[in-house]
């Protein structure tokens, strides 16, 4: 049992959704690299919720065509106890809620390779083969390569960036052929709900740039659902604008709670929407949020403090003297590492 799991008294939730080209949709995105090296704009919608020391993370993996198989690697703040099908429309409902309400006036405050990655959970949801891994960045990279993923050149550094804070990753392999057999169409999403006991939720943002060129822009919507008005880090600004901030309506929370596997949705919460519009080269951080009232979101959780190559999850009262981001509703996890799946034949690989 990880420390501090039961010490988090707050109720917090975070929805992170990155959107390419259509900031009005509820879809998040990550660059998925095809077997020919081309970048496919795969879209993924994600929701992370934090309640009583347990993170509920919901994301939807969407097939964008192109054939073959595609993989996604998601850094997680802790070891999940369950991975199951998620609610079918939760993310869309949240996007709808924030799209029709005007902006609140309360803006502005609101490892070296070790013994290899360990597979600690495996499951299949529709056409997705999901494996939860524990290991350092190099361990996870080796595992991915051995299981048919092809990592983009920035992956070694990005995996180390995340593994230094939490050595837990979720690898999802989307089987296009299996999806076709199930009748899934391009654009159809498979929602996945991940339950993660953790004292240190955070929202990965840097991962959204994986596999992209430095000048490529990242447009993303990040939703936070927390017990109280959060203090985010970095502060909202030109590259991460505060687009919505007010108490979540009872109607919204009731709707969310009625979706599949969503009984954990709290009775009351504060809803925040942050709109990210940044070139990939500038998005080198994650999002930390403090809802404790201390207004001290963790620089470690935000990825603003360099950590050793190997290390475990950030704990409250860590050596950096950071306040824990337990306020963070965060959650996190999310991050979608775009990887590509490469068949070991390497037939389509460049020379």
């Amino acid at each position: 049992m990880r420390p501090l799991i039961t010490t988090v008294p707050i109720l917090a939730a975070v929805v992170a959704a990155a959107v390419l080209h259509d900031s009005g949709s509820a879809e998040a995105c990550a660059g998925l690299i095809g077997s020919n090296g081309a970048v496919n704009l795969g879209r993924t919608t994600t929701l992370a919720a934090y309640h009583d020391g347990v993170e509920h993370y919901v994301t939807a993996f969407q097939f964008q065509g192109g054939g073959g198989e595609f993989g996604t690697l998601i850094p997680l703040p802790g070891v999940p106890t369950n991975v199951e099908r998620g609610g079918g429309w939760t993310l869309q409902r949240l996007q709808l809620e924030t799209s029709i309400v005007p902006l609140s006036d309360s803006a502005g405050r609101a490892s070296a390779a070790g013994g290899g990655a360990s597979e600690i959970l495996k499951t299949r949801i529709d056409a997705l083969d999901i494996t939860v891994l524990e290991g350092g960045g190099p361990d996870v990279a080796v595992w991915a390569e051995e299981h048919g993923f092809r990592l983009s050149p920035d992956a070694p550094e990005v995996l180390d960036f995340y593994a230094a804070r939490s050595p837990i990753f979720l690898a999802a392999l989307f089987d296009g052929a299996a999806a076709a057999e199930r009748g899934q169409q391009i654009g159809d999403g498979t929602p996945v709900h991940i339950t993660i006991p953790t004292s240190n939720p955070w929202v990965p943002l840097r991962i959204l740039g994986l596999g992209k060129q430095a000048e490529d822009r990242i447009d993303a919507d990040v939703f936070l659902l927390t017990d109280s008005k959060p203090a985010p880090l970095p502060q909202p600004g030109a590259k991460m604008a505060l687009a919505y901030s007010q108490a979540a309506s009872e109607t919204l929370l009731t709707d969310l709670r009625s979706d599949e596997n969503s009984a954990w949705v709290p009775e009351s919460a504060w809803l925040t929407k942050l709109a990210i519009n940044s070139p990939t080269s500038d998005l080198k951080f994650d999002l930390a949020v403090d809802t404790s009232g201390k207004n001290k979101p963790s620089q470690v959780a935000a990825g603003l403090v360099a950590l050793p190559r190997t290390g475990g999850p950030v704990a409250s009262g860590d050596a950096f003297g950071e306040s824990v981001a337990w306020a963070l509703g965060a959650i996190a996890s999310i991050a979608i590492l775009a990887l590509l799946v490469r068949r070991r034949t390497r037939a389509s690989r460049e020379s």
Partner: protein, 134 residues
């Protein structure tokens, strides 16, 4: 005594200079790869003699080291060879491994070395080999 100390400093300094970076002219060179980048962006080697080049891949992913003219690189940008191991100027370095290749560069001049795996050149995996009169 002071002259001896001075000589030792001079000799030590020369050794340091000779051992640093990839720009020293020698019949051997080491090029390290870390975070999908050639640590030694420039390496100087003599023409007309066999040069041993050690390639150290510190990354958990595979890389390539291909040195040659613009034509060579253009061919590899669209090539489909899955593995390089028989041509001294074209080397595949698996994750966490090292390879040693020996090449005789006949003529002085600058040649680029590039990793042509998908996206790696765009990410910056490019270096320059300065072949100089031996």
């Amino acid at each position: 005594m002071s002259k001896l100390i001075t000589m030792l400093f001079v000799a030590g300094g020369a050794l340091v200079i000779a051992g640093c970076g990839g720009s020293a002219r020698a019949d051997h060179a080491t090029i390290e790869i870390h975070y999908s980048s050639f640590v030694q962006k420039e390496v100087e080697v003599p023409a007309g003699v066999p040069v041993s080049i050690t390639l150290k891949n510190e990354d958990p992913i595979e890389h390539e080291w291909i040195v040659g003219t613009a034509d060579v690189h253009q061919r590899h940008r669209t090539g489909t060879e899955p593995f390089h191991g028989t041509i001294p100027t074209e080397v595949t370095i698996p994750a966490f491994e090292r390879r040693v290749t020996t090449i005789t560069f006949e003529h002085p001049g600058d040649l680029l070395y590039i990793c042509h795996l998908a996206g790696h050149e765009q990410y910056g995996m490019v270096g320059t080999l300065h072949v100089v009169e031996g």
